[in-house]
Symmetry: C2
Subunit: 365 residues, 2 copies
Amino acid sequence: MTQPVLQRQLFGPGPSNPYPEATAALGLPLLGHLDPAFIARMDRVCDSLRTLWGTSNARTLPLSATGSAGMEAAFVNTINPGDVAVIAVNGLFGERMCEVASRVGAEVVRVDHEYGTPIDAQRVAEAHPNPTVIAGVHAETSTGVLSDIAALGAIKGDALLITDAVTSIGGMPVLADEWGIDVGYAGTQKCIGVAPGLAPFTISDRAFERRVQKPQSWYLDLGLLGGYTTGSTGGGRTYHHTAPVAMVASLEAGLERILSEGLDTVTTRHQAAGTALQNGLQEMGLELFAAEGHRLPQLTTVKVPQSVDSAKVRGYLLERFNIEIGGGVGQYANTVWRIGLMGPNANPSSVALLLAALKEAIDKA
Amino acid sequence: MTQPVLQRQLFGPGPSNPYPEATAALGLPLLGHLDPAFIARMDRVCDSLRTLWGTSNARTLPLSATGSAGMEAAFVNTINPGDVAVIAVNGLFGERMCEVASRVGAEVVRVDHEYGTPIDAQRVAEAHPNPTVIAGVHAETSTGVLSDIAALGAIKGDALLITDAVTSIGGMPVLADEWGIDVGYAGTQKCIGVAPGLAPFTISDRAFERRVQKPQSWYLDLGLLGGYTTGSTGGGRTYHHTAPVAMVASLEAGLERILSEGLDTVTTRHQAAGTALQNGLQEMGLELFAAEGHRLPQLTTVKVPQSVDSAKVRGYLLERFNIEIGGGVGQYANTVWRIGLMGPNANPSSVALLLAALKEAIDKA
């Protein structure tokens, strides 16, 4: 018996619903991963990613795995055992950076911040006199907080700056060159509006020259990957692994959609939807979790009222409205909701639906 | 101006054209990666993969990256620095195993074989008295050679047996439990007939108990991944990373297609197509590369006649017929062709088309 196809409204922390163009591209006939037509497609994708990252870095490419592998690639290619990594922690993904960096053999210097607050660049600067890398999350998916990456760039000194832009890219400006980001990674499934499966990645020439010569990961070795995605110095592409060709086609379509709409317009759209949602939630009497002035429009964190069962509300939204929102993480698992309006979902209809559905769910669940 | 959509016949070493069911599933509405409906889907996928792997291993799952990451996962989870890995090398993917294992800190003991010949289990047994792991490729994609993995299982002693089944699984029997495979990895884009992007993976309880407690890769740490795909011991799934949900939906559809056709029928179909192709090529006066009696039906290697320009023929096939075939690898780059008939392409029409097109290309290119 055929199961009915569920059509979810993905208003959680990700994946988001993809742009229709991105979904349509998944169904196109496959190209081989060394087909000249695919290589041309990969070139276009890398070009579009440069625009999204605000960079001219030659080595800007989609890694063949999800955003978390992008994080791993950032550290395995920059950290030799014993190198110092100063990591700003203001949420789950900062925590994860510490774990990943330590597995690469880094001496990790954590700079802890209260969850819900942004990174304090001055404290990061004072944490160590001469780190090899400094790392921080631009848009913390776990807390809904935006941090000032340019401020980190200004204090990085000789260190390389690693930035997690998983939840920011495609929904707000990310200016790698201007801000001084040396290594940036992201995911496709948030504001880019493509299914999860790829990690858009960029690395500056400065970082690439200093890179680990033989990273512990063969799969994520940028020295080897560069020969495939950007061509070797002698011209021609060398085989490394089989690229996820369907996902790359989908990413191309998603990026074309965003760039034809215009990055400014996309930013404005995300900002407007997020502001409307946050205003509406507060008008309903709910309290926001992230510090005022540092709230992500694309990912809103809300405190669950004390009398309300978080899981029941989420279950009600899923069952009755086919709406997914997220719980909190760690100690906030049951006391915070995370609501994403990313990619095509950043629009007034989503806001109206969410506010109405959440109100009913809180009343009835 | 809209570009025409290319519709390639992917008769190279992979990716293959996907089963239509697998392509259709890519376009379904996305589910969240923690949605109960997605978790049920993941359970079904893991069940189907157990059937394909011929195993009852609890930890049988699709890794969120391509087949080469499956290879990396196999070694990072089993090798502690200084452990001995005896690796049978009879092609590019055996070579790659040596490289990946050495980056994990293994003392690699290579057992080299002439390219085009199968693994000699006796020589592998004699290479070291007490290795931690023994590794070999079941179906060498670079040479078109099938090796007897059961023979490796019979001589493994206390060692763990790692097997690359990238090109075999879904096209011929792979019997992990019966043959003594402890860790197996594959890809989706060959005989499984799904786009590249996932690595079907299995690990025995015996190997899991001996696993590296904190692998150098956080992304491929099976201890952490197990909590997400198979549930933690306390029940419930723990978040690790965002699964590539569209690819998993596609994999489910591809596996359902294969299992409803029946594994025996699928095997017979691949065998028949490969035999017909190999007979036809020899009737055309071409010489096969892989040793007789050890030829893969799903991937045929052919010697390029001395008077023929390999690249010109491949270019002609692509331009005139939209057919992709592969060149050789390494020293055989220009002297061998690799022709795959995998997944839906293992059928009489593909054979007839290939033989006619290749004949014309050799005559005219």
